[in-house]
Structure formats: structure tokens, C-alpha cells
């Protein structure tokens, strides 16, 4: 067992912190709604090739182990600057594994340099947790797919350039065996994008497709082969999705806020903070388990589900404790407790709800069949 970073990784931590210094005002990790600021961060990362830290060198990446990505996005989370972009994560990693040479040449350079921003088009009104029931139809007509249907809850699609779209190319009842992934240009005139405010401050969108045409060449991987690719890309991204330093930062901000509001010496407050610090450690423990499994090329399905669940629990407990510790100012809009209370509600739903994560642990970790 070894819990320390290597000298190179340690040096990278320092380099990342230096890099982040000028972006400390970009507080987009929680709110994710200033797309201009986010683009500038991603492009600056692109200039260092840090969006491609773990991509193969032959495809323009740095070929570094996953620990480097973990460090970058954990520090980003701590500084509250930004989350990993969908483009350089799920999208690029799927293209690297399954895309053809033309697709690699077309999509990887703008992603690597932070110029192309993607939104995720998986969920539908009737297909949320049960994604395999997605219905948006992609009918093949010559060398295009004609798309009809509705996507919902796509974060930030009104500001992104492209949509990473899950669509049905198989029979209506084909479930996970009839789904494909295509890239849709969000500027396409026949798309209707309706924004909806989230409690956490950013924006969901509902996207209506009415005979939208997309070249077949923009399908990534085999037709009807989305499911395997989605699982593989999820595995590729596990170690950066729920960075433990986000909850560490929540904890520190709440602790300092309580101290600044005269509650720091109350024994009850101190006791509660001590409990919450254990929650933070538990998230760190799960995150390191995911990283360690990823480094050893082991499946980390159970570890990742536990990491996500623990991360949501900690974020919500910290925010809710802050509301309860006897300081009426906690409800003022924009104060740390108020902002965390609103934002942390959404964490236990997006990316697979708490119940789904717990089910994975029960089924795959314990062999139960709930």
C-alpha cells in the first residue's frame, strides 16, 4: 500500500495550483452557467494539452496515467473553477476507442484545444433512470439519419456547440440493443432548445427534434452499439467524476462560515463538524479506491457507485447541517449554506440517482437481488 503521490505527480499538483491561480474568480464548478468563462478555462487547459492528459500520444495526448487527470480535476473542484468537460471525457474517450480515423481527425483536435463544447443528450421525458427505454428515433435515409423525438435535462445545451446524442436506430422494443450514439450540431436550425432553470443556478434544456438530419458519418461506433460504448466511457471517466475535494471545500467553507458568524466555539457545532469531517474522509477513501482500481485496470463499478453515493451524502449533509446550526443568516441568498443547500439537492439525481447507485452496490458488490 502506498498513499503518496510520486515526485512527478507531486510536481504536477504544484503546477496545477499555479495554473489555476489566475482563474480563481471563475467559480463555475457549482453553478456551471457562465459559459464564456468556462470556455476560457477549457481553452487555457487546451493550450497546455491538459484536456488530453491521458489520451494516447499518437492522438495528440500526453499518455499520462489517470492520477494526473484525478489531480487536475480534484484541484479544479477544490478551487470551485470547473468540472471536467464532457467533450474531453466521455466524447473524446469514446471516439478514441471506437471512432474511425476520419472522426479522430475531425473531432479530437477541437476537443483537445478546448474549442468544441458538448452537451449530453441521453435522458428523455419517459427515459430517465431507465435509459435503455430511450425512444428518440434515428431513421436512416441514405447517408443521413433523420431524428425525431425529445431529449430533456441536457445541461447547458443552449450554450454548447454539439450534442452527444443517444438515439434509437433499432426496433422500438430493442432496448439497449437498439441504441446508437451520434454527434449533432446544436446550431442546426430545425432544433428547438428550451431552457429550464435548475435550483442550483444553472440550466437544463429540453431539445425537440423535428426531422433533424445528421450525416451517418457522425455516428460514433457501430450502429446499435451504444450501450457497450457508454459503459466503457463511463469506466474511463470514473476517477474524475466525483472529486473528493469538492466536499472538502464545502466542509471548509461551512466551518469557516460558522466561525465567522460566531458559532465556532459552540460545542454542539464542533461536534457536528467533527462528524462531517468523517464524511469528507469517507468520500476521499472511496475516491482513492476508484483511482487505485483504475490504475490497476480493475473494474471499479462498485467503488464508483460507492464514491458517488458517499459524495452526494456528504455534500447534502454538510449543506443541511449548516442550515441547522443556529444561524438565521444561513438562508440569505448567496450565502454559503444557502447556495450549497440548493446545489447539493441535484447531486443525488444526475448521473444515476442515489437509489440506482445503492442498487449497484447491493447487486454487484453483495450479490443481492433487490
Amino acid at each position: 500500500m502506498d498513499l503518496s503521490y510520486s515526485p512527478a505527480e507531486r510536481a504536477f499538483v504544484a503546477e496545477v495550483r499555479d495554473f489555476l491561480a489566475p482563474f480563481r474568480q471563475v467559480l463555475q464548478f457549482l453553478h456551471n452557467n457562465d459559459y464564456g468563462a468556462l470556455r476560457s478555462v477549457y481553452q487555457a487547459l487546451g493550450e497546455r494539452n491538459w484536456l488530453a492528459l491521458s489520451w494516447p500520444q499518437a492522438l495528440g495526448g500526453l499518455g499520462l496515467p489517470p492520477t494526473f487527470e484525478f489531480i487536475l480535476w480534484d484541484e479544479m473542484a477544490y478551487a470551485r473553477i470547473a468540472r471536467p468537460p464532457l467533450s474531453a471525457g466521455i466524447v473524446a474517450k469514446t471516439i478514441i476507442r471506437y471512432g474511425d480515423d476520419e472522426q479522430k481527425a475531425r473531432w479530437l483536435p477541437p476537443i483537445r484545444t478546448g474549442k468544441a463544447m458538448f452537451s449530453l443528450g441521453y435522458s428523455e421525458p419517459e427515459a430517465g433512470s431507465d435509459l435503455a427505454s430511450a425512444r428518440l428515433v434515428a431513421e436512416r435515409v441514405g447517408d443521413v439519419y433523420r431524428l425525431n423525438g425529445v431529449k430533456i435535462w441536457s445541461s447547458g445545451a443552449h450554450e454548447a456547440d454539439f450534442l452527444w446524442l443517444l438515439c434509437r436506430t433499432g426496433e422500438p422494443a430493442s432496448r439497449s440493443a437498439g441504441l446508437s450514439l451520434v454527434i449533432v450540431d446544436l446550431r442546426s436550425p430545425s432544433l428547438r432548445i428550451r431552457p429550464m432553470a435548475k435550483m442550483g443556478g444553472n440550466v437544463f434544456t429540453e431539445i425537440t427534434f423535428d426531422n433533424v438530419e445528421v450525416p451517418v458519418a457522425q455516428r460514433v461506433g457501430p450502429e446499435n452499439g451504444a450501450w457497450t460504448m457508454m459503459s466503457a466511457s463511463l469506466a474511463d471517466e470514473r476517477h474524475v467524476q466525483y472529486p473528493p475535494k469538492r466536499v472538502l471545500r464545502d466542509f471548509e467553507e461551512v466551518r469557516d462560515w460558522l466561525r465567522d458568524h460566531g458559532r465556532g466555539d459552540d460545542p454542539l457545532v464542533r461536534h457536528r463538524l467533527a462528524e462531517l469531517s468523517i464524511e469528507v474522509l469517507k468520500v476521499q477513501a472511496h475516491a482513492l479506491s476508484v483511482l487505485s482500481a483504475t490504475l490497476q485496470d480493475r473494474s471499479a463499478v462498485v467503488e464508483a457507485a460507492a464514491n458517488k453515493r458517499a459524495y452526494c451524502d456528504a455534500a447534502q449533509r454538510i449543506a443541511r447541517a449548516a442550515m441547522e446550526l443556529g444561524c438565521a443568516e444561513a438562508v440569505i441568498e448567496g450565502e454559503i449554506p444557502e447556495a450549497l443547500w440548493r446545489q447539493s439537492l441535484e447531486e443525488s439525481i444526475g448521473g444515476g440517482g442515489n437509489e440506482i447507485m445503492t442498487g449497484i452496490i447491493a447487486r454487484q458488490g453483495l450479490g443481492l437481488k433487490p
Binding site: 429550464m196 435550483m199 443556529g326 443568516e329
Partner: protein
């Protein structure tokens, strides 16, 4: 009379008439109610039902009726200083109360520094050192989680309006009833969703992971409702347990309402965390009332060592 937990005919009549009023004025479902903000006209109409005069009948407070009324108004998410007005009724003399009871003037009540609804009020009362005082005239609006037209206030220099004890007790009881009603309304609505929304070929309610938190919220709300009613009855009858029960009701109702709100957010999925969705408007207010002073910690500190026996009928004087 045999032991019974049901509401009396007066309370039932009050609840029925308030329910009818709210359905007529705010709409039958929650969709219309979500966007209703405080309005003086609506307030006046509510007052014309005689609701604020429930709080005082000469010098006698009618706690059971107050609790029954605020439970329905909480379920409807009726906006405005409801528990606050009931509390103020305990602190104001007849001349100052008359225009407030009639709905012509608005009062709010609370503890510095943040008082909900103060920004729409003509008169703000704050509790300081156990005394009710009028707040200093100049106060600033602050935007809050519960969107309650709050303001940052300080106590003014005028002489005390009297002991705060009874007003605070009515305030705590009123907040308890309001949030219990709100939590129950959220639970009813989300339970309908769990009965009808299908994923993986089943309704959400068929998954125990979804059903159990809703059942637990129901269980907690039911206990809280009994505590609220018992606290109100104890106050009406001047039982020695009244003080403990009111604080216990505030704690239990707040926790139950929050559990219900969290389960509702979670069960609605992404829709449950949208601003325009079915949960945000009420859950924001529930959390704000949960946090507001006097806090749950203060309530906890105020409980006597005998609190745990305060529902034992043997302790109640007949």
C-alpha cells in the same frame, strides 16, 4: 369524554372553509399556487374569513383553531406572515391589533437579524431578551431561500410591548402547523407521481428505495401532527406540558417536513430540482422556516427534562 385525537367540529369547519377559499383563489392544484406571491388583496380576503381573529378572542387564544388553520394554509403554500400574525396577536393591544386582524395592515414577527415578510409589513415586532419590541424603522430587504420578502431588522428604542413568552409559543406552534401542512402536501403530490411514473416497466412506488423514504416521511408527519394538536390542546387547557409540547412539535414538524421535501426532490428526479417544478417553491420555504430563529437548537435547549412524558395521558389534568 374518551381519549380522541380527531379534530373538533370548529377546527374541521375552519379547515373546510380555508380549503375552499384557497382552491377558489389560488387554484385547485399546486400548479397555480406555485407562482402566487404575497398580495395585500389576497391577504385582506383571507382576513375577511375571520382567520386572524381566531388568534384572540378577547384575551383568550384559541390554539387548536390556530393550528388547524395554519395546517391547511401550509398545505396550500399560502404566502405571507401567517404564524407571525398569530404571534403578534398575543403581543399587541386592541387598538394596534384591530387593523391587523382586519387584514388592512400587515405585521411580521420574529427574532433579529432576519425576519421573514418584514419587507411587506407595516409593523415588525422582534423579540429581544424575552420582550416584544417594535423593530427599528429602517430595515433592508434581503433575498432569502424561502422567498419570504425578508428584511434585516434590529430592535427599536420604543418601550417593550410586553413579555414575549406567549407570542413566541404561538409562533412556534404556528410554524409547526404550517410546515407540517406543507410537508404533507408535498408528500401527497409526490406519492401520486410515484404511483404513476414508470421506469424499468414498473411504477416508481414499486421500488422500495423510492417507497420507503416516502413512507418514513409519512410516519414522521403523522407523529408531528399529533404533537401539534396535543400542543395546541395543552395550551388551550393550560396543561403544564404545553411548553414542552410546543417546542417538541416545532422540532418534530420541522424534521418531518424536511424529510418529506427531500424525498419529494429525490422522487421527482430532475424535474424535482427545477425552479418551476412541483417541489422547489414549498421546500425552500420549509427550509427557511426550519432555519429561522428561534432555531431548532434553541427549541432543544428549551425542553425540560420531563419532555419525554408530556404525551402521557396520566400527566394531563382532566
Amino acid at each position: 369524554m374518551a381519549l380522541a385525537l380527531d379534530l373538533g367540529p370548529d377546527e374541521v369547519a375552519i379547515q373546510d372553509s380555508l380549503r375552499r377559499f384557497c382552491e377558489r383563489r389560488l387554484g385547485p392544484g399546486s400548479l397555480g399556487r406555485r407562482s402566487v406571491s404575497f398580495s395585500r388583496n389576497l391577504w385582506l380576503e383571507l382576513a375577511e374569513l375571520g382567520i386572524f381573529d381566531l388568534a384572540r378572542d378577547g384575551t383568550v387564544a384559541r390554539h387548536q383553531q390556530i393550528a388547524a388553520a395554519l395546517g391547511v394554509l401550509g398545505a396550500m403554500g399560502f404566502p405571507g406572515p401567517l404564524p407571525q400574525t398569530m404571534a403578534a396577536a398575543m403581543a399587541l393591544d386592541e387598538a394596534r391589533w384591530a387593523p391587523i386582524g382586519a387584514g388592512l395592515e400587515i405585521v411580521s414577527f420574529g427574532l433579529a437579524p432576519i425576519v421573514p415578510w418584514a419587507d411587506v409589513a407595516d409593523l415588525v415586532l422582534v423579540v429581544e431578551d424575552g420582550q416584544v419590541r417594535q423593530a427599528a424603522a429602517d430595515f433592508d430587504f434581503v433575498a432569502t431561500l424561502g422567498r419570504t420578502a425578508s428584511a434585516r431588522v434590529t430592535p427599536g428604542q420604543d418601550p417593550s410591548l410586553g413579555e414575549a413568552g406567549h407570542a413566541l409559543a404561538v409562533f412556534q406552534l404556528g410554524v409547526s402547523a404550517y410546515v407540517e401542512g406543507a410537508g404533507r402536501a408535498l408528500l401527497e403530490e409526490v406519492t401520486d407521481h410515484a404511483r404513476t411514473r414508470r421506469q424499468f416497466g414498473k411504477t416508481l412506488g414499486e421500488f422500495q428505495a423510492v417507497a420507503f423514504p416516502l413512507a418514513e416521511a409519512r410516519m414522521d408527519l403523522d407523529a408531528a401532527l399529533v404533537l401539534i394538536r396535543a400542543a395546541a390542546l395543552a395550551a388551550d387547557q393550560d396543561q403544564t406540558v404545553a411548553g414542552d409540547l410546543i417546542l417538541a412539535a416545532r422540532i418534530a414538524a420541522t424534521r418531518a417536513a424536511l424529510a418529506s421535501a427531500y424525498a419529494a426532490h429525490q422522487t421527482y428526479g430532475a424535474y424535482g430540482v427545477t425552479e418551476q417544478g412541483p417541489v422547489a417553491w414549498l421546500s425552500r420555504r420549509i427550509q427557511e422556516y426550519a432555519t429561522q430563529s428561534p432555531s431548532l437548537g434553541d427549541a432543544m435547549a428549551g425542553l425540560s427534562a420531563d419532555t419525554a412524558t408530556s404525551l402521557d395521558p396520566a400527566r394531563w389534568a382532566s
